[in-house]
């Protein structure tokens, strides 16, 4: 068969049953459209999480304490050990390729102002904290090295905390808050850091020295964050710190280490694997509707083969080869899914734009998902068209011509 004839025959066959063809195509449109839309939601979630991790500083390494070492089978969770202290920070500061080192002590306390009270994470930090996390002040100033040196009882508020304690659009600088029954003077509010899971909006920052002296009473740290010169040096610096901390803590191998070093890259990787699973899950759910659409194609093609039994018999008697008969039906079903695929991609795209516009959710339609669903739709046409096409080509012409 010439391609020209194949196209013409397909057109006539599909046009002869316009309503049925359109409904069948609609099944594929919905299937492909929902796959595209769902994957775009998953991909959007991935990119917004990655963005929010990156917004908390790039090239950042976070050192956290290891497990509480104890005798017997009972072991506490990661981060519970008291293995990091101010001495470690001093040592790390001596290493090369580090821009800033930020020791942190964190704990939750009841915080009260004149008007209201709330429960907040209170971070004891040094000035480098804001360098590492790339946070700026919205009003007032941030914690400086002088505050730390003098153990000044000053506090910098996260934007949500400032609203909770003092109300909206009120400048709290100069006012005081009580944290754990100690009075602190508010010197600034940081800019909003977004709604990601690393947000500092509901945190309060005080000088590390104050936190250690009045709250914890020792020199133990909750974690140490540091910013490395460039991303290429991350691995090297991680090795340097590991070696040095092992030496300081009197340990010989990494297996004994009483600390963990994590990087923002690792966090992104971890988040990606979570959202990747989410994307697959969403895609799979949408895939079910695509499958149903495919079954619709098969149903229509089987009906069509039955209806056109006599026509198939005639074509065979005239001299059509089995191959030509099956090719014609295959092309018909592939055409249905192809049209459905194209319209479905447009529909999915429109849906993802609507979701972004009206539901304030990040979505992204990628070339990969378009190509994937386009390919899938054609494959569906061929797979679900194969059985009806084979059935048509295997019809016995004598019986087919007599078929009523």
């Amino acid at each position: 068969m010439l391609v020209k004839d194949l196209i013409k025959e397909t057109y006539f066959a599909l046009n002869a049953n316009k309503g049925r063809s359109v409904l069948t195509i609609l099944g594929i449109v919905i299937g492909i459209g929902s796959v595209i839309a769902m994957i775009s939601i998953g991909q959007g979630a991935q990119s917004s999480i990655t963005e929010s991790i990156e917004s908390n500083g790039t090239n950042v390494l976070i050192i956290s304490p290891g497990q509480q070492q104890s005798f017997g089978p009972v072991r506490s969770g990661q981060g519970t050990a008291d293995s990091l202290s101010n001495d470690d920070v001093e040592a790390i500061k001596e290493l090369d390729d580090i821009v800033a080192v930020s020791p942190e002590v964190s704990s939750r306390y009841q915080v009260t102002s004149k008007e209201s009270n709330t429960n907040a994470s209170v971070y004891g930090v040094e000035s480098d904290y804001f360098v590492v996390k790339e946070i700026d002040s919205q009003v007032g100033t941030l914690i400086s090295s002088i505050h730390v040196k003098n153990s000044s009882k000053v506090a910098v508020l996260g934007s949500t905390i400032a609203e909770d304690l003092f109300g909206e659009d009120v400048n709290p600088v100069g006012d005081s808050v009580r944290i754990n029954n100690l009075n602190f003077k508010v010197i600034g509010v940081i800019e909003s850091t977004g709604t990601g899971f690393n947000s500092s909006d509901d945190s309060i920052f005080v000088p590390l020295s104050v936190s250690q002296r009045y709250f914890t009473g020792n020199e133990i740290l909750s974690s140490i964050s540091l910013k490395v010169n460039s991303s290429e040096l991350m691995d090297q610096v991680e090795v340097d710190i590991t070696n040095m901390l092992l030496m300081l803590h009197g340990m010989s191998s990494e297996e004994d280490a009483d600390f963990n070093i994590g990087s923002s890259t690792e966090m992104i990787e971890m988040a990606s694997s979570v959202t990747g699973t989410l994307t697959i899950l969403l895609g799979a759910i949408a895939g079910i509707s695509l499958l149903v659409g495919g079954i619709g194609i098969m149903n229509m093609m089987l009906t069509s083969v039955t209806e056109r039994t006599r026509e198939i018999g005639l074509r065979k008697a005239i001299g059509a080869k089995n191959k030509e008969i099956s090719l014609q039906f295959l092309i018909e079903s592939a055409t249905l899914t192809l049209i459905g695929g194209v319209v479905g991609i447009v529909l999915g795209w429109v849906i993802s734009i609507i979701i972004t516009k009206f539901f304030d959710m990040n979505t992204s339609v990628t070339l990969y998902s378009v190509v994937l669903s386009f390919g899938v739709s054609v494959v569906i046409g061929i797979v679900f068209g194969y059985y009806p096409a084979r059935r048509a080509s295997k019809l016995n012409p004598i019986d087919a011509l007599r078929y009523e």
Partner: protein, 241 residues
């Protein structure tokens, strides 16, 4: 042109064997117009299917233009049907909701020549003129808007477009009244006389068989009579049905 030697055809349904054709020998020369007659169930349709290569015999030899058909595969048989045989059915078997021209052009899709759409139309129109459908208006009618006689002549035109050696007609007038049946038969007559096209026609009516040069009677799967038709009818004598 056609040579059948001891053709036997059995059908099996489960363990039950039905002998439809019990050994038929039959020779057919180019340019002949043969009518095969017999009551229903005599095996004439099966014989026609075997001649048309839609069915294969259980045993026996079939030579078509000196080629042994039993040695050919489905593809080669389809090719012979495409280029050498034109089928005409009792029920016309035209494509519904399709123009007359497109119906006649249908075989070109499989013969792949001529490739050009205009050439195809030219040949289809020539075939339509041959069967007496020279009226241009009718070419663009849909097949279901035609009368029975017109439909059968469109079917004949379709059978003719690839210049076959043989026309196989299975009860071509079975669904037509006597008047339109006569038009179809006179078309056969003309094609046989003027174009030297060989025709094998199956019928159960004597009046129709008498249009042929030679009449073969079949009963219970065997040939009971095979003679030259001396009382050959022509269309102007009219049919008395």
């Amino acid at each position: 042109m056609i040579e059948l030697k001891n053709i036997v055809k059995n059908y099996y349904s489960g363990d039950v064997e039905t002998k439809v054709i019990k050994g038929i020998d039959f020779k057919f020369k180019k340019g002949e117009f043969v009518a095969i007659m017999g009551p229903s169930g005599s095996g004439k349709s099966t014989l026609m299917n075997i001649i048309g290569m839609l069915d294969s015999p259980t045993s026996g030899n079939y030579l078509f233009n000196k080629r042994d058909i039993s040695k050919l595969d489905d593809q080669e048989l389809a090719d012979i049907r495409l280029h050498s045989i034109g089928f005409i059915f009792q029920t016309f078997n035209l494509l519904k909701r399709t123009t007359v021209l497109r119906n006649v052009e249908l075989p070109f899709i499989y013969s792949k020549k001529p490739k050009d759409t205009c050439d195809r139309e030219e040949l289809a129109k020539k075939a339509l003129v041959k069967v007496g459908l020279g009226d241009k208006e009718i070419w663009y009618h849909l097949s279901n808007q035609l009368s029975g006689g017109q439909m059968q002549r469109v079917a004949i035109a379709r059978a003719l477009v690839n210049n076959p050696d043989l026309l196989l007609a299975d009860e071509p007038t079975g669904n037509l009244d006597s008047k339109t049946g006569e038009i179809v038969l006179s078309t056969f007559e003309k094609l046989n006389k003027e174009q030297k096209i060989s025709i094998v026609m199956i019928t159960h009516e004597k009046e129709i068989a008498e249009f042929a040069d030679r009449i073969i009677h079949i009963k219970d799967g065997v040939i009971t009579d095979d003679y030259k038709n001396t009382k050959k009818r022509t269309s102007n004598q009219g049919l008395t049905l």
